[in-house]
């Protein structure tokens, strides 16, 4: 990932809003959200409203890919809707390129591209028609934008189906069209709400390659939500983790992962041999050890460099080590660490209500 500015030494994770600019240009704030709050009105009069966003604030720098992560119902789409002028927040303010979203929504709309979580294409039109109509809403004619439309269709692997009705598209094709439509007017700031949902690995890789290319060549800034933690880890310069409408962590993927305490070494020890815990814990870098039967989990700062020391120490004491696995921290663990509940896999909960408790199962998550 080529960062325009050289990375400063990684500071410790800061709770929110203050993390150093990483991929982006520090002095150019593109998105500035301050204490956003959104309470949806109750369905029935007298009922209690839903607090969807509860004091969210952050800044996104030019040229940065900024990830917004959180479980279903955390408030991601609501935040995007506020930032893109589609929803007036209950309180708080937001500026896009210095323009207030509440005061000058139309100026903001001119600056941004938006890909909705939900499909918004017109089924009765072809893919190309959808793109040209969208371009027309920005005042662009097909003469001005036709070449770009063809480029985008090719990039999204839709060149051969561009003139078919959208109602004949597969789910992934619709998603790719949605991405193309969101970029048809060449925005410099893109909001992507779960852009790669339902795309095959090839489609995901292709899309991200294109986004990176635009970022590097044209300084595109991206604000995205995703449920694919690996995707966020690889792509995002910075990540904000949101849960129950609050940002609970913000930093580079590395900062976030470091915050859970580094790597985990899993050692399997021959049955019946002595317990090596006392030998290993004084080794440099080891922060915690726990034993489950014949396997030992060693928390440490750098797993690879600890392996030879552990093996040697054990061998000298006559303890046989059968295998060693180094587990690098994932955002999954970050999530578990921050919220006390595992990141629920997609599909486990069919709807977006925030009824996830700490109880429903961090299975198999190394802790």
């Amino acid at each position: 990932m080529s960062a325009p500015s050289s990375s400063p030494p990684e500071p410790a994770l800061e709770p929110r809003g203050l993390a150093a600019p990483h991929g982006g240009v520090a002095d150019q704030i593109v998105i500035d959200a301050q204490d956003l709050r959104m309470i949806y009105p109750p369905p029935k009069a007298g009922g209690k409203g839903t607090v969807a966003v509860d004091g969210v604030g952050f800044q996104v720098w030019r040229g940065e890919i900024f990830g917004f992560l959180g479980p279903n119902g955390a408030g991601k789409t609501t935040t995007i809707s506020i930032l893109t002028t589609l929803l007036d927040p209950t309180s708080g303010r937001a500026r896009i390129e210095g323009i207030d979203v509440l005061a000058h929504p139309n100026d903001v709309r001119r600056k941004i591209g938006l890909v909705f979580q939900k499909s918004t294409a017109d089924e009765e039109l072809t893919g190309r028609e959808n793109m040209l109509i969208e371009a027309g809403l920005y005042g662009l004619t097909s003469g001005q934008i036709g070449g770009h439309v063809n480029d985008l269709l090719a990039q999204m692997d839709l060149a051969t189906s561009a003139d078919r009705f959208v109602k004949t598209y597969s789910g992934g094709m619709r998603r790719r069209l949605e991405l193309a439509v969101g970029m048809v007017h060449k925005p410099k700031l893109l909001f992507l709400d779960e852009p790669t949902l339902g795309l095959d690995p090839q489609g995901r890789a292709g899309f991200w390659r294109y986004i990176r290319y635009l970022r590097d060549s044209q300084g595109l800034t991206v604000f995205m939500t995703t449920h694919y933690l690996d995707e966020a880890d690889q792509l995002c310069d910075r990540i904000a983790v949101i849960d129950h409408g609050k940002i609970i962590a913000l930093g580079t993927p590395k900062q976030l992962k470091d915050s859970v305490g580094g790597d985990t070494l899993v050692l399997s020890v021959a049955a019946g041999s002595a317990d090596p815990t006392a030998l290993i814990s004084p080794l440099p870098g080891v922060t915690a050890i726990s034993r489950q039967g014949d396997s030992l989990r060693v928390k440490c700062s750098r797993g690879e460099s600890l392996v030879p020391k552990v093996v040697m120490t054990a061998a000298q004491a006559g303890i046989e080590i059968l295998g060693v696995t180094v587990i690098k921290p994932t955002l999954d663990e970050v999530f578990l660490h921050l919220t006390g509940h595992a990141y629920r896999e997609e599909g486990e909960a069919p709807n977006g209500n925030p009824g996830h408790g700490a109880g429903n199962g961090p299975e198999g998550a190394p802790a």
Binding site: N106, S119, A121, E124, I133, E134, G198, A349
Partner: protein, 290 residues
């Protein structure tokens, strides 16, 4: 540079032209009205034989035959009936998230409404013109009643006729569009339309002369925008005898209705489009899972 509103009109046009069943049913029903209702229901036949021609003409405010009288009413009837579907598109656009997409672009909220008004308004004029053309043609079919127009119809008369048709269409397209903006479900929309349909159409002079109605009804009928438009149209084709006011007054009255309906629609549309707490994203189950 292209006007964003034109892009929306183009979209509506493409959709419309691709839905031939809609086109056919929209165009066929006014013609059926003309043939079945218009031919069967001849008030003139109720007069005893030997009644002087002037009696019927004066009852019909100058129209030479009942069919001629009725055909002009049907012009208004056809365009108002067509206008009743104007608000459906916007409801589907809301439900499918297409409106969300449109609202995320810099097109002004007023343009969203105006593009619908222009396109839908044009659509309601098609059956109106079709009725005129078809009724005129019927006059040449032997044994069938047709629209008979006086020889002294001037260009100004024709312009008045068209003007009245146009203003009527703008008024009712706006009214029904505003319901489309205001409600979220197609059922609610047709609920409103069903309640309004008969009162709007039957408290007008589109089908029968006002003088055969009770006085209280005559008042209602006099204010109905359909009656005002039909008065202008009939006066343009059959002469101004037997009308209380001049063409200009009726046109002004009609215009006043149009202004009220357009303002109402603008208000409801901008309210509905301002902060649309609609299906912005929704749960994962709503997403494109296949």
């Amino acid at each position: 540079m292209m006007l964003p509103a034109f892009s929306l009109i183009r979209r509506e046009y493409i959709r419309w032209i691709r839905a031939p069943t809609w086109v056919i049913s929209g165009l066929l029903s006014p013609i059926l009205y003309l043939i079945l209702f218009g031919q069967a229901f001849d008030l003139g036949k109720l007069l005893p034989p030997g009644t002087p021609a002037g009696v019927l003409a004066s009852a019909l405010s100058g129209a030479p035959t009942y069919f001629s009288y009725f055909a002009v009413g049907m012009v208004a009837f056809a365009s108002v009936t067509a206008a009743m579907f104007s608000g459906t598109g916007i409801i589907f656009d809301k439900q499918l998230g297409i409106l969300q997409r449109i609202l995320s672009t810099p097109i002004s909220r007023r343009s969203v409404f105006l593009s619908s008004l222009i396109f839908r308004g044009m659509l309601t004029l098609i059956p109106a013109f079709l009725v005129v053309g078809f009724a005129l043609l019927l006059a040449y079919v032997p044994g069938v009643a047709g629209l008979q127009v006086g020889a002294n119809v001037t260009a100004l008369d024709a312009a008045q006729f068209l003007g009245a048709a146009l203003i009527l269409s703008v008024a009712f397209t706006s009214l029904f569009l505003s319901f489309g903006f205001a409600v979220q479900r197609i059922e609610s929309y047709f609920g409103v339309v069903t309640i309004l349909q008969l009162p709007i159409l039957l408290t007008s002079n589109a089908m029968y002369p006002v003088n055969i109605m009770p006085t209280w009804l005559q008042y209602l009928v006099g204010f109905n925008p359909i009656s005002l438009a039909v008065n202008v149209m009939r006066m343009s084709l059959f002469g101004t005898n037997g009308y209380t006011y001049s063409v200009g007054i009726y046109l002004l009255g009609l215009l006043a209705w149009a202004v009220v309906f357009v303002l109402l629609a603008l208000l409801l549309a901008s309210r509905a489009l301002r902060s649309h707490v609609g299906p912005v994203g929704g749960a994962l189950s709503d997403a494109i899972a296949t």
